[in-house]
């Protein structure tokens, strides 16, 4: 005989596994520090590439003037200001990433806790049969 409650629970679990569950299980397989650290590192790499792209556009924007000024300007000072801007951009973006991924991790853990509880409940239903 079909156990209606069990079928409903199994459907809910399967639907969760097919949607958010897959991502949450992947997140849940990491320790908090590892997950957030890895994501922030990826964000730093992304932001670095983005910074290089913007810097290249900035140089190309006034390329002729830049080439004329390059011999007159204090290259060390210019390099320092570029590095300072880079540091500000990276720190800001890394902080945003940290907040986003810390929130996602705690949300995924909470949702996984409920999922595993339901799995145990399902397993209990089979053993009580």
């Amino acid at each position: 005989m079909l156990n209606e409650e069990r079928v409903i629970l199994m459907t809910k679990l399967a639907s969760y596994e097919a949607s958010d569950g897959k991502r949450n299980v992947a997140i849940g397989s990491y320790f908090r520090v590892d997950y957030i650290g890895w994501q922030v590192l990826k964000s730093i790499i992304s932001a670095t590439i983005a910074f290089v792209v913007v810097f290249a556009m900035y140089i190309f924007y006034d390329f002729e003037i830049f080439m004329m000024d390059i011999y007159k300007m204090d290259l060390l000072e210019f390099g320092k200001s570029v590095l300072k801007t880079y540091a500000v951009v990276i720190i800001t973006y890394a902080l945003i990433s940290y907040v986003v991924y810390a929130y996602r991790y705690s949300k995924a853990r909470k949702s996984l806790r409920l999922y595993y509880m339901n799995l145990r409940k399902l397993s209990g239903m089979y053993s009580n049969k």
């Binding site: 990826k42 964000s43 992304s46 932001a47 590439i49 983005a50 792209v53 913007v54 290249a56 556009m57 190309f60 924007y61 006034d62 390329f63 002729e64 973006y93 986003v100």
Partner: protein
């Protein structure tokens, strides 16, 4: 109204029954419309400006994740621009790269808006986007909408300045580069639209979350009003030459369209609202329960006439 509610029930039943076909079809439709619009607006590369190619790519998009449509649309834009001008490709390609690296890295769930926003702009109903995203999205959707607006205005810029960019020689590469960047960054209309849409979206979101009756309707009306006001103030401050009549008509049409969205997503009966109050060890709960408006589908009665002797009705 009852007829509409019955129709809604039928549509829900139809969707749940054929969801496996309807969702890919809708993705196909979105991809096909977006790619056709890109081809009609830019269309410089003959190899991709062909219906069979668009059909094949749209078919691919129909069974891939929604983000794939965004990638394909970006690829089509860059291919057309490459055939037109290398400088435009570099500038717009850099803008796309920044969007992908900085925002889409967080893989938001509403990336489809980046494609839908330019499509709605071309269809002259852009104001439907901030209002509907405020109703069904979150405040972060404002970033996705802003990306969509930037994409539209970049394409629009190239489209409007074709003759100017074509007239420049190969030696003027640096100047061309500067003109394209200036044209995109100094577009005040784009900045005003981004500001107006962001304010509208956040306002609609805040109001629709309030615990007041008719929150959705009030949010839509307030959003539409604020949208028009911000665009008009932006026009006065930056002289963006926005058509006031067009903005008002576009907003009214968008309001009607979001009314349809509200009917399907959030149709409740405030006259039967129940307010209950209870407590447990940790909290007091003040719960406001608003029932959904639902009707039961009429059951079909099939009367079979099979001769004079066996006259009976079957359900």
């Amino acid at each position: 109204m009852t007829t509409l509610l019955v129709a809604k029930q039928y549509m829900k039943l139809f969707y749940s029954k054929y969801e496996i076909y309807i969702t890919p079809f809708l993705k196909f439709l979105l991809a096909f419309t977006a790619l056709r619009l890109i081809n009609s607006r830019l269309g410089y590369m003959a190899a991709v400006n062909r219906l069979p190619i668009v059909l094949i790519v749209a078919l691919m998009c129909s069974f891939m994740p929604t983000n794939f449509i965004v990638i394909m649309a970006a690829l089509f834009i860059l291919l057309h621009l490459y055939a037109f001008s290398l400088e435009c490709t570099i500038v717009i390609g850099a803008a796309f790269l920044l969007m992908f690296l900085l925002y889409f890295r967080f893989s938001p769930k509403d990336t489809a808006v980046v494609v839908l926003t330019p499509v709605c702009f071309v269809l002259k109903i852009p104001y439907v986007i901030p209002i509907s995203m405020g109703l069904i999205g979150t405040p972060t959707s404002a970033v996705s909408v802003a990306c969509g607006i930037i994409v539209y205005y970049m394409i629009h810029y190239v489209n409007v300045n074709v003759s100017l960019l074509r007239g420049m020689t190969e030696e003027e590469t640096a100047a061309k580069f500067k003109i394209v960047i200036d044209g995109i960054l100094n577009n005040k209309e784009m900045v005003v639209t981004i500001a107006a849409f962001a304010v509208t979206l956040i306002l609609v979101y805040i109001i629709r979350r309030l615990s007041i009756d008719y929150a959705w309707t009030i949010a839509m009306a307030a959003g539409a009003f604020v949208n028009v006001m911000v665009i008009l103030i932006g026009d006065l401050m930056f002289d963006t030459n926005v058509s006031i009549l067009g903005t008002v008509i576009g907003t009214v049409v968008s309001l009607l369209l979001t009314g349809i969205l509200q009917f399907f997503v959030f149709h409740v009966d405030y006259s039967r609202t129940e307010k209950v109050q209870f407590e447990d060890d940790e909290y007091y709960y003040y719960v406001k329960a608003v029932p959904k408006v639902t009707v039961t589908r009429p059951e079909k009665q099939v009367k079979q006439i099979a001769g004079q002797k066996n006259n009976r009705s079957i359900r």
